[in-house]
């Protein structure tokens, strides 16, 4: 009998040590991230820093009705809805190409990873000299005879931002898909070929199905990285870019400079709400899918 008691409180003892290991990180996260988040939500609820009159959701409603915020939301949504899938598709294509290669696989894999670590400040000059009015792109068009265009101020500027995003994030996606593809056992392909399935049917009902979990993680990572693109856009265009590339972070940065804590925290609250909903959808569907497969 006492053996069980001892083993139970031994388990109790082990639990306590685990909590001890977790404590520093938990405390740090609370003090430096969770409390500030709640403090900024409190800022969003009051109407001005000094009188501290509680206003409830008025600030959130104003931010939604704000024209610039709507434009910023539209641009960011467009950027994510186009950029992230494009990133997944490109990295999948490159990963499958690399899979077929025999020699130099590691070398090319490495080259695609390097842009991930190159800091924005160093490379923005190259993008500017390529896409500027008298840059390389216009020089090519000029020599071919096509009409030149001021790309950085035209409606295609979001395309340029997506190109920069792809350049930076293809590496991670490619690595994920490459190892995901390797994980699919060869036997499934033999079986499909024996049944006389064409390459296309083979692709759809085997590769696509088994790559889904890695696809989720790649999508999550590229959404996380899509917020980091603001640094390049800020270095290229400054505080007030043209209206097509005016992102949410521009709106928040300008509110920050105008010392308007209410609008800043209100917009931050709205963005966090979006992130939470997207993540929730991701995790639920991922858990459902993985049950389905295992």
């Amino acid at each position: 009998m006492n053996v069980t008691i001892r083993s139970r409180n031994k388990k109790k003892y082990r639990e306590w040590v685990l909590w001890l290991l977790l404590l520093p990180s938990l405390m740090g996260m609370l003090i430096f991230y969770l409390l500030p988040f709640f403090l900024s939500m409190y800022y969003a609820m009051i109407d001005n820093v000094v009188s501290r009159r509680f206003v409830g959701l008025q600030n959130f409603i104003d931010t939604f009705r704000n024209l610039s915020f709507q434009r910023a939301l539209k641009n960011t949504a467009f950027f994510i809805l186009v950029g992230v899938p494009l990133n997944l598709i490109c990295s999948f294509i490159i990963a499958s190409l690399l899979k077929k290669m025999t020699k130099l696989k590691g070398f090319f894999g490495l080259i695609f990873l390097i842009p991930m670590i190159i800091p924005a400040g160093a490379v923005v000059f190259v993008w500017k000299s390529i896409f500027d009015v008298n840059g390389i792109l216009n020089w090519v068009l000029y020599s071919v005879g096509l009409p030149m265009k001021n790309w950085l101020e035209s409606e295609w500027v979001l395309g340029i931002v997506i190109i920069i995003f792809l350049w930076k994030n293809i590496g991670i996606g490619m690595i994920l898909f490459w190892t995901g593809l390797n994980r699919i056992p060869k036997t499934y392909y033999e079986v499909a070929r024996v049944e006389g399935g064409s390459a296309m049917r083979q692709f759809f009902n085997i590769t696509l199905v088994y790559i889904m979990p890695t696809g989720f993680v790649a999508a999550l990572l590229s959404i996380i990285n899509s917020f980091k693109i603001f640094k390049e856009v800020f270095l290229l265009f400054g505080n007030y870019p043209s209206e097509w590339v005016y992102l949410l972070q521009h709106y928040m940065n300008n509110q920050f400079l105008a010392a308007n804590a209410q609008k800043l925290s209100a917009s931050a609250g709205i963005i966090s709400a979006f992130i939470v909903s997207v993540l929730f959808f991701f995790f639920r569907s991922q858990r459902k899918l993985s049950e389905h497969f295992s």
Binding site: L18, G28, L98, P119, L264
Partner: protein
């Protein structure tokens, strides 16, 4: 006869394979070149002398020369394309010489960045490794919800956290560097990455170790840590890259111009001394590239485990 026909079939099969293989290589090579184009340009241009850079990239490099009125007289400026070349006409190492031996302030900025990044990376590892292990082993109802909160907090934009951090630093009178380092150490990114790695780790052997009397401490040290090394390497690299090009917090917290990290000085150099920009950009990139090259095997191996059901 049949053998010859098979031979022919096999020969053009091989021919087809080599032809397709060739196309594959060319396309991959082109894509790789496109990806490396900016970095190669950066390195080759850093060998150019200041005058040549200004003459080649004479387009309005900086938005800030607003009040100089020359541009109006040069109204009829000839349409001057940017001539980008891989090989400069006149190779000189003068910029590097000037950077390392003639301007002590850039060296000081480099050391500022190092002083800022190293404590954060080390602190991040010391805090995240035990926390991730504890997170994995803990049986607690709301564990998944706590992890979900970690991820949400990780995605918070920096401007929002800047004001409360400043308030905190003001209340506790933290020195500027500490006000940046402490939030860096406790950032939830570490736990997210390490936990993903541990998900793929078989629980059975951990229970087995526990049964034969090992305390958590040495379980962590002997079993878990060795094969968590890859994700720790990835964590080190991502955190180092993040805090090496830090901008927002540095502008707000650091008062003295010479205490700022190198990332802020990079944009200033572009305005007042464009010739030096390329040399300084290369000097700025070297540490991250070296770190990446050193632990690149871990990158490809570790990321593949992320999220795969064990």
């Amino acid at each position: 006869m049949i053998k010859r026909k098979n031979m022919i079939k096999r020969k053009n099969m091989i021919k087809r394979k080599t032809w397709q293989g060739g196309l594959l290589y060319i396309s991959i090579m082109a894509l790789a070149l496109l990806t490396l184009l900016p970095i190669v340009l950066l390195v080759t241009n850093s060998l150019m002398s200041g005058r040549e850079i200004v003459s080649r990239y004479s387009m309005d490099i900086t938005v800030f020369n607003v009040l100089n009125t020359e541009y109006i007289k040069a109204g009829d400026a000839p349409f001057h394309f940017v001539e980008m070349t891989f090989l400069p006409d006149y190779i000189t190492f003068y910029q590097y010489f000037k950077l390392f031996f003639k301007s002590p302030e850039y060296l000081r900025l480099f050391w500022n960045s190092v002083i800022l990044c190293v404590p954060i990376v080390v602190g991040q590892c010391i805090i995240s490794v035990p926390a991730a292990y504890a997170f994995e082993r803990l049986q607690w109802k709301y564990k998944e919800h706590l992890f979900f909160i970690y991820i949400i907090v990780m995605l918070m934009p920096t401007q929002v956290l800047l004001v409360p951090h400043y308030l905190l630093a003001e209340m506790v009178t933290l020195p500027p560097y500490l006000a940046i380092i402490l939030p860096g150490i406790f950032s939830p990114l570490g736990i997210f990455l390490l936990r993903q790695q541990l998900k793929g780790f078989p629980h059975e052997c951990l229970e087995a170790a526990q049964v034969d009397g090992a305390a958590h401490g040495n379980i962590l040290y002997h079993i878990v840590l060795p094969n968590m090394k890859p994700s720790v390497a990835v964590l080190v690299m991502i955190t180092f890259a993040d805090y090496w090009n830090i901008v927002d917090q540095a502008i707000v917290f650091i008062k003295n111009v010479f205490d700022e990290p190198m990332s802020i000085a990079l944009s200033k150099v572009m305005q007042n001394d464009t010739g030096m920009f390329f040399a300084m950009a290369c000097f700025y990139i070297v540490p991250i590239v070296v770190l990446f090259m050193a632990c690149r095997d871990y990158i490809s191996q570790e990321l593949s485990f992320v999220g795969v059901k064990n």
